[in-house]
């Protein structure tokens, strides 16, 4: 009775999983596929993939390097990774909550610039004490992001404008307007970027002495974790989370069930915008201290794919952000030790995202295989009886 394909099917079911835990297993399987594809690429370039992956981990602070400069160690590398991961966590959560409601927030980049710029102008050059300035920066970021989100949601609700197009338009308008103000008022003539903000408003402490090390301390990372926890609660326990999901799945059914579809969509865009705003201030006033005019941060677009890799769940987004930033952060070290081009980081990330886009298909296939095997088993049992 046993056919040749059964072994393949069993392997697929084991790798991708069926039922509980399928999401995590699928994500891991996609990561595995991407690593295999990346290895082939590296072999093609004549490099040892194992060595390459090891040096990525070394660069990201998961694995000790051969030697370190003064005041640096594995811990400082890891803290640096966390520092760059923080805005990505906010940004991917921002995309995830909009996706939950069936909306596609492609405006994360624009919201990041807007909130980063507004907070920079209002507080970055002020002489407020750090204890006051930093919380205010967070609040301003939150508010300005939420305002843009509200506007996009309201336009969608009131005028039925396509939120993707509106978001794209906002991206460019914001980028150009901010660039105009930077170049006329706040430009640093040597770097051609906006003037550096003061240390009192910065959300990351750089070169902070801890023991004999000097490390980066991202002050808003705890806030990112809190956001993850809050969103987990919202999605699993709160009424609003359920309404978001219902509207995302079927707008008409939600309306018949008495959910105010318009209000729910606007709410989700407001939360999404607020999170994007946090991403903006933690990026432009944490990881960096100035804004480059006319450049939309690619982080805002990558966040869409990261949210997808994390299956739009809060913890998924958190770990997916960590993974993607590990690759991009660790590659600088790999590039220098192995002599590979730095661009390979985004390429490996791209391949990873490509495979994760096929995740739903893999899940479907695994379920189908499981069903087929089950049917065969039943048929075999029946055959045995007869």
């Amino acid at each position: 009775m046993k056919r040749k394909g059964d072994g393949c099917k069993r392997a697929m079911i084991r790798l991708v999983g069926v039922g509980k835990g399928q999401d995590i297993k699928t994500a891991l399987f996609c990561i595995l596929l991407a690593l295999v594809a990346g290895s082939i690429l590296l072999l093609f370039l004549g490099k040892n993939p194992l060595l390459a992956y090891k040096s990525i981990l070394q660069g990201a602070g998961f694995f000790p390097k051969a030697r370190y400069a003064g005041h640096r160690s594995m811990l400082t590398d890891f803290m640096s990774l966390l520092n760059y991961t923080t805005p990505m966590v906010f940004a991917s959560l921002s995309v995830a909550i909009a996706l939950r409601c069936g909306l596609f927030n492609i405006c994360v980049s624009g919201m990041m610039i807007a909130s980063g710029f507004i907070a920079t102008v209002l507080l970055g050059y002020s002489a407020l004490p750090a204890a006051l300035a930093r919380p205010l920066v967070v609040l301003v970021g939150l508010a300005s992001g939420a305002a843009i989100g509200a506007l996009i949601g309201w336009l969608k609700y009131k005028y039925n404008t396509n939120e993707v197009v509106v978001a794209i338009m906002f991206n460019y308008i914001i980028s150009y307007v901010v660039s105009f103000f930077i170049q006329t008022k706040f430009v640093d003539p040597t770097t051609r970027q906006s003037l550096k903000i003061g240390q009192n408003a910065r959300l990351t402490l750089f070169d902070q002495p801890v023991g004999n090390l000097k490390m980066e301390i991202p002050l808003v990372l705890p806030l990112a974790v809190v956001c993850v926890l809050l969103l987990s609660f919202l999605f699993s326990k709160a009424r609003l989370g359920f309404e978001l999901k219902a509207v995302g799945m079927n707008r008409k059914a939600s309306r018949y069930a008495g959910i105010s579809v318009g209000r729910t969509m606007v709410t989700s865009m407001v939360i999404s915008g607020a999170l994007a705003g946090l991403a903006g201030v933690s990026y432009y006033m944490g990881c960096f201290a100035s804004i480059q005019p006319k450049v939309l941060p690619s982080l805002g677009f990558d966040a869409i794919a990261v949210a997808l890799l994390g299956n739009s769940t809060p913890w998924g987004c958190f770990f997916a952000s960590l993974l993607v930033m590990t690759i991009s952060n660790g590659t600088t070290y790999m590039a220098s030790t192995l002599g590979v081009l730095r661009e390979i980081a985004s390429l490996i990330t791209g391949i990873l995202l490509l495979f994760s886009a096929c995740g739903a298909f893999l899940k479907g296939e695994a379920d189908r295989f499981a069903e087929e095997l089950e049917e065969e088993r039943i048929a075999a049992v029946k055959g045995g009886r007869a």
Partner: protein, 317 residues
């Protein structure tokens, strides 16, 4: 005054051809946010072909090779989107975004790698020949309209010819009818004996070819090289033009013209009023602001293809 028309047309027409690509793909029911990636990959392929073979060709002809290879490159890359959306049943919006990320990563990597290993230089650019500009002597002296015949890029003629052919195919032939039906009612196409998956696959490939062509035009008109700066959002802008044009070719043409002329008019204004160059940033927002305002007025009557973004399921009623 002529400069408004000249620059406006040089910007609008590539945008238009990319948008037609979008109409083909979305008209067949496959959401296409990947135009940005397609146009970049197309421009990369064209640039690569010129870098490899352009030296052996008589001067002035490498441009046509570039356009041909750009279309082929865009088409090949689009097949990835098609496979993901049609065979792997991926979410089409997400697949589109992934294509854009992948395209910019891949072209940046390949351009660096090929420049380093084949030509032995550290650069992420492929240089192109400067495109000739054609001025038709009699017609260019007509007041106002003369601008349409002054310093025209050769690609503008290519775009117009290709656009006419694509328009004819989409609205006047059985193939076009099938493509459009796939976007509105794929079940009906299936019942009539058409192969939905194959038609959609073809439509996405066409969109890749057209976007690649458009990307190459931008590479010639804006920078005369291929570099990662080609990813400047023209793909997204043409998506906006397409939606604004209600997924139909003629209204989309006017939307593209509007974008191009708003942009060139703004630049003209900056130079005319002798404003500092930083004011051009404000002017550059004009096409986007116009779109936004017009969208607010016209969105109520907007009608996307009915089956847009849905994975085709034979059993669905």
């Amino acid at each position: 005054m002529n400069s408004i028309v000249v620059d406006g047309m040089a910007f609008s027409l590539p945008l238009f051809i990319i948008a037609i690509g979008g109409i083909y793909s979305e008209g067949s029911g496959i959401t296409n946010l990947a135009l940005e990636g397609f146009l970049g990959f197309g421009a990369f392929s064209g640039g690569l072909a010129v870098a490899l073979l352009g030296g052996a060709m008589p001067p002035g002809t490498s441009m046509y090779l570039a356009f041909l290879m750009a279309a082929v490159g865009g088409m090949v890359f689009a097949m990835l989107h098609a496979v993901l959306c049609i065979h792997f049943k991926a979410n089409q919006v997400i697949s589109g975004v992934v294509m854009n990320v992948l395209s910019s990563a891949l072209t940046a990597f390949l351009a660096n790698q090929i420049n380093a290993s084949v030509f032995g230089k550290a650069s992420n650019k492929f240089m192109l020949e400067v495109s000739p500009r054609i001025t038709i002597s009699g017609l260019s002296r007509i007041p106002v309209l003369g601008g349409f015949f002054t310093s025209v890029y050769p690609f503008e003629f290519i775009v117009i010819v290709v656009a006419l052919i694509m328009g004819y195919i989409l609205y006047r032939t059985p193939t076009g009818m099938r493509i459009r039906s796939c976007g509105d009612n794929p079940q009906a196409v299936d019942a009539a004996g058409g192969n939905v998956a194959r038609i959609r696959f073809g439509a996405v490939m066409v969109s890749g070819a057209l976007a690649g062509l458009g990307g190459m035009c931008f590479a010639y008109s804006i920078s005369t090289n291929f570099s990662p700066s080609i990813y400047a959002g023209f793909g997204y802008l043409s998506i906006a033009a397409m939606i604004f044009g209600n997924w139909r070719i003629l209204p989309t043409f006017f939307a593209c013209i509007l974008f191009g002329f708003a942009r060139s008019g703004g630049y003209y204004l900056v130079t005319k009023l002798e404003l500092p160059s930083s004011y051009s940033d404000l002017v550059l927002t004009l096409p986007y602001v116009t779109t936004l305002v017009l969208l607010i007025f016209f969105s109520r009557s907007n009608r996307a293809p009915r089956a847009l973004g849905e994975i085709y399921d034979k059993g669905k009623r």
